[in-house]
Symmetry: C2
Subunit: 776 residues, 2 copies
């Protein structure tokens, strides 16, 4: 870890224990599915088994007649539309289903078994429509149009939409034609990246409660309680004052629990039944009906000078949105920003087409579009290096962003850690020394990959109360999704600012009634935004405390400091008052101390002349990263094993190094799973492997020791300089592993995942075009 | 209702519906006893069946051996001491029990039946000690001392304590000897007032939860969540950061749910078992082991001028505290302040002795010491009027406090509504016209009584958040105990200040993690204190809103007003911006709006030269009241029926007249129950009538139509001038009814309750001394 130049801290920067650690490791943490409410019913959602069909009729009479069934809902009983960017999805399909798994009805009954039985009794008569599953085919002028009434959808005006194209995002910079005209060499290659599921340990789950006025309370496994509240409000027209969303313990989300999904159906059922309703996905439901990572296709073409300078880049990207939009236009915008990589490329022409198919809708998964895009861009960089005969590291260092450079949309960068990251990663894996196999049947290779990443903005708020004994209660709207950002990071920040030990802090989080608004655990934003709000709130409380101490000690506030629980005149330890003496009388003798903090970093900017159809043009607190890998490939089977892995990450400031490392290691492990074994296998829009026997998550045996190096290039907005750290680690592994495999086998692998079959074929046959390559 | 001079309000002052009304009337409200937590155990407390005994041994081995029993606790496993004023009570009796019902052990088991079975298996071997049940006997110099190790108790230094006297409170003013020496007449009389139970619809109930660190969450039927948290902290030494108290729906409290009672045992059992524990009193447990109203004895002696001016008053009061202190010293202090009544009495000598007996501990019941003291004082006033031959109303008006007068401890009074209250009550009951019976077997009489009352201070805090649609979330630490002070009053105040309709407000209350500190629903304080904090918080949010509007409209904040959901330049309706436009972007485009308010009225003052041994010397926002009653007494049985009843009450400002009237009527009904039928019958410290067949609550058939007149003499601290309204209505009925009975039968009744037997005896035999009269 780079030594921070920050002043000596007591609590931040240290490896404090999470406040929820004991509950998590002893199995005591209470998840949404554990909750029991008096009179609670069990719900189930009835889903389409067709990828594209007209609904002729739905007969729910037998289900309704079943004793113990309390509510049955279809489009007839419950209208409403939802969607993160575009309100394109009906709560229940009325006339038409567009993907396998689309909700058609929902049932609430006295037991889960009865609910399942009732669901089976609902008869839906379909008339199949022509379906498309390949986004390139969906672009054909004569392709059937999946959404043919887009004018009736609400959505941002910036969307440029035609046929099955949901959004067409363009990034233009400089003079691309001149760049290619003046190039010494041109390198062109194509890549295809597949879909994987977030597979949190805990499937989606919610319990909806309802009061006598129809006001709904959701106990939800959500990353974004305020977002779920707003989506419910928008989808169902329920006033915000009539909805409370309380985040239950979240057993992992990884982007899969940002949208209101089960929440909407649980709320509808609870209101219809007038009783609480529990909806918990089975693993199969969760895998088959999630919103997994987007499959993407890339065609990249770079104009190069002989010395390796990248003069220009042209890129065509097709992102399969699946049947509905969710956040896909936004995610396409992120992809556009990633195509230049963290490199100075003066001339750019990037086109991202976000395209509908009859696949399941694809959505947010940690670092959305990142693993796919960085894999394509960095493999392309390796191919350039090979083509030009320049060392991979050298090529990257030659083009790397430097302090004060301008990003692809004109954003002025501050200090850039990229070159240090590259150097440290290359050193750690000893890239200069070729990998040597110790067995004739195996090949060994080393590789590395770079990327930059953003820290998402959005509102954050925090309240800090002091108790009579000087301990602290924190109310924060952010969600603790298992990263420690709240239960370690925020706790440490508050403890630091108030000069109290960590165990004297307690935190309530993610409750739309009890905590200030927050834009949710997404985009690596929690510690950066909510941490800053917490710091402000703690300083506000501290100020109120100092005011009381100043009056008591007859000193100026500015001359006071807090040392070991005593507020004292700086440098005069015997002129002090114990902390708890200032707080003890709060119930009867003095007003309660109530600190408050709100924070919003640069809001998202829209610059249509640069990026059309998307909203991401500013990377808040941009961070720079490099991963390096060493792999062993079985010459005869193509089986690849990662034997060493290094993550070098700029955290800005590591409020808790343990949890930053946890993110780095966990993200890298997920990235390794994506690169090698995990895959959602769709056949005509239907998932063929919706269980954990067939959907192959890496186990500890598949995961190497992941070494970590934290860089601390402070941001000027995050608390103590912190930047978002959650997403970057998952973004680079496919690229780094691809680089190492290419090093081992001598050819690039242009399609993910790097299965034995695929790697073996490249060993045998040399470089392939990407699966389902497409013309520029 | 007096027409208020306040500006026209939209929401306050109107009869808005409570936000929890639907839940309450449909039976959907969820009480602590309704909660189910995963793995929850059922607890029971094992109590002493002796009034005073040494514990020889406790054998809990059989209970521990019973399958399904998870935790058994006695003093061996759980130490700790508690008590509101004096920490005189062990959590579990170790060596000695001092009253029937004192906790000796507690059990948690898989079912309630198993817990009860285990409790029965615990064998306690006692050696009886001499017990005292009469507080006068307890004063005898040779009485056995119930607390003989008081030096080891923590308690305020102001307590003056000897023998069985827990506190001796004295109030001295002027020259009492001179007053009596110069008197034209001296009237002396004695009174005895009995004990009644708060009997809320819902008995005490709590569910304790515990996390992996031993942190405890209590879902409690409590009036005072922050108080329970603090008492747990003090009793068990648990840091405040390790306790959360969430008030469940409270099915009535009336002072009986101020103290941590079951809470302590539930917390201990949950921590011992490592699982949630539910403790719910049966009605019998609740009646027999509550902390009911204090039995009190009074001997009053007044020095009078011939014209009715009261020159001086000497009073000796004995208040039976029962076996432990709880809040009795404080309550004795209130009694002292009530003895002069709302009258100018220049010379005073009041002695209140708070005395221990081996009765159950007596505690807070709505208007503590008020009904007893006002009954004594006002009956004494009637006796003076009769003695001097002055009309009852005339005597009161002649001595009544007036604007700017000085209270008995030197407090300067503001505007005094007393004379208007007396006049209005006398008019309403037509006191000038004698009551006439319409049946030869019945006697009729009319009466009235006056009192003044305080509004308790204590911290209050509130948070106000604005949602994207302009609706409002309020976090308030106060408890909604069924009065509407929070769910109507606070809601209306916030709606008023922010210019939104009532249904766009939602409130979370009484949660030590989620809401700012509050000193609890006691002493008529909620609306006065928490309402003011809410007003401040709403104004803070409003200010933030106006700042945004000012920037947008390019206007000065001072020139803006909120009209019908639009922030507009005053008088220029077309230069405005809809409210929701200012709040809509809070998630992504602007910081969240977080309003905050804290409030503390004059803190309690201690003035040892005036009142020794107590803390009440200032009545915050004092209010003045008069009740009038007409009764019918059966000549042959002594049975008394209240046929008409009028409550005239100064509310300062009625934020919601419906709920002020609700307090007035509910309080009067409880007061009628106290006066006529309810009584805790103790035999050697054991309650003989611990069920609702024998403990006679008045039904609707026993309760007349209660007419209400609200006066509005604004206070300068409460919101819009509001004063506390909860306690006064329960304080006056025994006095008013005694006055009417005396009018009917021609003699005062000097002991409560006014049972047929007692009234019949007075009819037969004329005025009695108070039961168990005592010498001065």
């Amino acid at each position: 870890m780079t030594v921070s130049e920050a002043p000596p801290f007591a609590t931040v920067g240290a490896r404090g224990r999470r406040l929820d650690a004991d509950d998590k490791v002893t199995g005591r943490a209470r998840y949404a599915g554990d909750l029991i409410l008096p009179g609670m019913l069990h719900g189930v959602i009835v889903r389409s088994d067709r990828p594209h069909a007209r609904i002729v009729s739905i007969d729910s009479s037998a289900a309704r007649a079943l004793p113990g069934v309390v509510a049955v809902l279809t489009a007839e009983e419950a209208q409403g539309r939802f969607g993160e960017i575009v309100k394109d999805q009906s709560v229940f399909a009325a006339d038409r289903v567009r993907h396998v798994g689309e909700p058609v009805a929902a049932v609430a009954a006295e037991t889960a078994a009865l609910a399942a039985e009732a669901a089976n009794l609902i008869e839906t008569d379909y008339e199949d429509l022509p379906a498309i599953f390949d986004p390139i085919a969906a672009l054909a002028p004569d392709a059937p149009v999946i959404h043919d009434d887009v004018a009736s959808y609400a959505g941002p005006a910036e969307l440029i939409r035609w046929g099955n194209v949901l959004a067409h995002i363009t990034l233009r910079r400089g003079d691309i034609e001149a760049a290619f005209a003046g190039a010494d060499r041109i390198v062109e290659s194509s890549y295809a990246a597949h879909s994987v599921h977030q597979t949190p340990m805990e499937p989606r789950a919610v319990v909806a409660d309802v009061d006598g006025r129809g006001r709904v309370t959701l106990h939800s496994s959500t990353q974004h309680p305020f977002g779920v509240r707003y989506q419910l409000h928008e989808a169902l027209g329920i006033p915000l004052a009539d909805i409370r969303v309380v985040a239950a313990t979240v057993g992992g989300g990884f982007g899969g629990k940002l949208e209101a999904s089960l929440d909407i159906y649980a709320a509808l059922l609870a209101r219809a039944a007038g009783r609480p309703v529990r909806l918990v996905n089975t693993r199969e439901e969760d895998l088959a009906n999630g919103n997994p990572r987007h499959p993407m296709r890339f065609r990249l073409r770079s104009a190069l000078a002989a010395d390796g300078a990248i003069l220009g880049r042209e890129a065509h990207i097709v992102l399969d949105a699946g049947a509905y939009a969710i956040g896909s236009p936004l995610i396409g915008g992120v992809a556009a920003m990633l195509i230049p990589g963290p490199y100075r490329i003066p001339n750019l022409a990037v086109d991202v087409k976000v395209v509908h198919t009859n696949n399941i809708p694809f959505g947010s998964y940690r670092g959305p579009s990142g693993p796919q895009s960085v894999y394509a861009v960095e493999t392309h960089m390796d191919e350039i290096a090979r083509e030009l005969g320049i060392d991979r590291v050298e090529l990257r260092l030659r083009n790397a962003f430097e302090d004060g450079d301008e990003g692809p949309t004109g954003q002025r960068l501050g200090r850039v850690s990229l070159k240090e990251a590259i150097t440290r990663a290359a050193e750690a894996i000893d890239l200069a020394t070729p990998a040597v196999s110790d067995h004739p049947n195996t090949l060994r290779g080393k590789g590395l990959a770079c990327a930059w990443w953003l820290t998402t903005t959005g509102s954050a708020g925090c309240g800090v109360q002091l108790n009579e004994d000087g301990s602290v209660v924190v109310q924060i709207g952010a969600a603790e999704i298992g990263t420690g950002a709240v239960m370690a990071g925020v706790a440490q920040i508050v403890a630091e600012e108030l000069g109290v030990p960590l165990e004297r802090v307690r935190i309530i989080w993610g409750d739309t009634d009890a905590t200030p608004m927050d834009a949710g655990a997404q985009g690596s934003r929690t510690l950066f935004n909510a941490g800053r709000a917490a710091q402000t709130a703690a300083r506000d409380a501290r100020q109120q405390l100092l005011e009381r101490a100043a009056a008591l000690l007859e000193a100026a506030e500015a001359d006071l400091e807090i040392v070991d629980g005593v507020v004292q005149v700086r440098g005069v330890p015997d002129r002090g008052v114990p902390y708890a003496e200032l707080t003890a009388g709060q119930m009867w003798m003095s007003e309660p101390i109530l600190g408050r903090g709100a924070f919003l970093a640069n809001p998202p900017a829209i610059a249509l002349d640069v990026i059309e159809g998307s909203v991401f043009t500013v990377f808040n607190a941009p961070s720079f990263h490099c991963h390096a890998a060493e792999v062993e490939v079985d010459r005869e089977t193509g089986q690849t094993r990662v034997v060493d892995y290094v993550v070098v990450q700029d955290a800005g400031f590591a409020v808790n190094p343990t949890f930053v490392e946890g993110q780095m290691q966990g993200g890298a492990a997920q990235g390794i799973g994506y690169a090698l074994t995990e895959e959602i296998v769709l056949d005509e829009g239907r998932m063929l492997n919706p269980n954990l026997a067939l959907y192959k998550l890496p186990t500890t045996l598949d995961t190497p020791n992941i070494r970590t190096v934290i860089l601390e290039y402070a941001s000027d907005q995050g608390p103590y300089g912190a930047k978002g750290v959650g997403e970057p680690p998952v973004v680079l592994p496919p690229a780094a592993i691809a680089s190492a495999i290419a090093d081992a086998i001598g050819s690039p692998v242009r399609t993910t995942p790097f299965t034995p079959e695929r790697v073996h074929r490249v060993i045998r046959e040399g470089p392939q075009a990407a699966t389902k390559d497409f013309p520029l």
